[in-house]
């Protein structure tokens, strides 16, 4: 998912690719990153009927965004948008060109300002993904996955899979109040979770030290801005 501020006053909201998650799940995060005002909606590779699109647009409008134009790669979606009376723009670029390539490395500095906040537990099968850092207020249950371009911070228990620095940032960290994951990934490094029970009441963080993921007590010092 990404949010690209335009040079003009208008901003753009881009839905994540349909193969990864449902648009409904990531929408609140996307809206949070935007200012209320005129917005362009990029439906990307979503095939949306009138009913679905109407629902999506009403969510946007309820959060104070004013829709200026609907764009996307799928003709059917554009037809639905036109039927609902919105100006449309069919992007004829192929999926390959439009999709951010996973190998593309975005340094941490670039998106460090963007924080996705999610309140609620991730249950088995859920997947929360953020372009920048992600802060979860709740647990990550076994079978659920949380991933971020930057750091993963969990105010709760991590018992599923966490992936920090999914675009290749090896400096990213995973912090949780209780770190008992099935698997940890930072950048392209993968580690299985620790076998034993963690010490109670001790927040821990995982980071990369000389090419391996290590877990240590979380750094409680507040970094200087």
């Amino acid at each position: 998912m990404s949010f690209s501020p335009n040079s003009s006053k208008s901003q753009k909201i881009t839905l994540p690719t349909s193969r990864e998650t449902e648009w409904g799940k990531s929408l609140s995060g996307l809206i949070n990153a935007l200012e209320p005002g005129p917005t362009e909606l990029d439906c990307f590779d979503w095939r949306l009927g009138c009913r679905e699109l109407k629902k999506l647009i009403s969510i946007l409008e309820n959060s104070g965004l004013k829709l200026t134009r609907v764009s996307g790669n799928i003709p059917e979606t554009m037809v639905s948008a036109a039927a609902l009376g919105h100006p449309t723009n069919l992007l004829l670029t192929t999926n390959e060109k439009n999709k951010p390539t996973p190998s593309q490395t975005i340094s941490k500095e670039e998106n460090s300002q963007k924080l996705l906040f999610h309140n609620g537990t991730l249950r088995s099968g859920d997947h929360l993904s953020a372009a920048g850092d992600v802060l979860l207020f709740g647990d990550v249950n076994p079978g659920a996955k949380i991933s971020a371009g930057g750091d993963v911070m969990i105010w709760g228990r991590l018992r599923g899979i966490a992936h920090a620095g999914q675009n290749g940032d090896l400096k990213a960290k995973i912090v949780a109040l209780e770190l008992r994951p099935l698997q940890l990934r930072i950048g392209n490094v993968v580690a299985r979770g620790p076998e034993g029970q963690p010490e109670q009441g001790l927040a821990e963080e995982a980071k990369i030290l000389s090419g391996r993921i290590v877990i240590e007590p979380a750094n409680t010092k507040i970094p200087k801005a």
């Binding site: 249950r123 088995s124 018992r159």
Partner: protein, 271 residues
């Protein structure tokens, strides 16, 4: 029209953990408390709620005919032979899976809600169309699971889906609890399960051979004033559902007391 009708979906995700058994027993137990209850079999592909209730041979019309408007609702409803407060709306033939839409499900449940205080929906296993149809028509849900990692994982997934559909409240029933195995730490404990699922516990059901016998006979355990452990558990769940405050059994103490030992002795058949 009864505006306070409780529409409860009984689901689990994984198959074979006891959805249908719970639906049947809960239906009987509620009916015995005098509330008008209907059980709706939403498992169109593999229907067997009628079997468990022993009503298979009384079915004339099904939900299918009701939706097609070739019969009235009260013609399709099958009253339980011993417990007239309980009715069953049987599932139609498996081809209903192909055309049934959430709207149809809502229509059926809407009709039932006018006549009954409780509508219990027996959900099919899995999270595909059958599940989605059932969820679209419900207000609250009971998740049933067993203390096994696979069942708990599936239950967790289902709870997530129920939450996104705005179903509230969702309560938990833990089935097939074996106190001895928990004690020897060979089975997930009650705390282990509630820790992951983070749901209020509506009740525990102890592992009980009587369940198998009653299933095969088509006579739910709660039908008689049964002294079997599972029957007591089901009856307690029904009472808690009605708002009575009944403490949960402690699996560590279950089956240990003098009374339980005596009961077991009474049940043993000596030839």
């Amino acid at each position: 029209m009864a505006p306070n009708t409780r529409i409860i979906l009984i689901c689990s995700g994984k198959g074979g953990v006891g959805k249908t058994t719970l639906t049947a027993n809960l239906g009987i137990a509620l009916a015995r408390q005098g509330v008008r209850t209907v059980v709706l079999d939403a498992d169109f592909g593999l229907r067997n709620l009628d079997l468990l209730l022993g009503l298979e041979n009384r079915i004339v019309y099904t939900a299918q005919e009701v939706l097609e408007e070739s019969c009235r609702l009260d013609q399709a409803l099958v009253k339980h032979k011993q417990e007239p407060n309980l009715s069953l709306l049987p599932a139609g033939n498996p081809r209903m899976l192909e055309w049934l839409k959430p709207d149809d499900m809502q229509r059926i449940v809407g009709m039932l809600a006018k006549q009954f205080d409780y509508v219990l929906i027996d959900c099919p296993a899995g999270v595909e169309d059958g599940f989605k149809n059932a969820v679209s028509a419900t207000k609250e849900a009971i998740i049933i699971t067993t203390p096994e990692v696979s069942a708990v994982r599936d239950a967790d997934r289902v709870i997530g889906l129920l939450n996104t559909n705005g179903i509230k409240p969702v309560q938990l029933v833990l089935n097939r609890v074996r106190p001895k195995m928990i004690e020897s730490q060979e089975m997930l404990s009650v705390d282990d399960v509630t820790d992951i699922l983070a749901l209020p516990l509506l009740g525990l059901v102890l592992e009980d051979e009587q369940v198998i016998i009653s299933t095969n006979r088509g006579e739910p355990l709660t039908l008689k004033d049964n002294i079997s452990p599972a029957a007591r558990c089901y009856a307690n769940i029904a009472k808690r559902l009605q708002g009575e405050n009944i403490p949960l059994i402690d699996p560590a103490k279950a089956g240990r007391g003098l009374r339980d030992k005596f009961m077991r002795l009474m049940q043993t058949k000596i030839f």
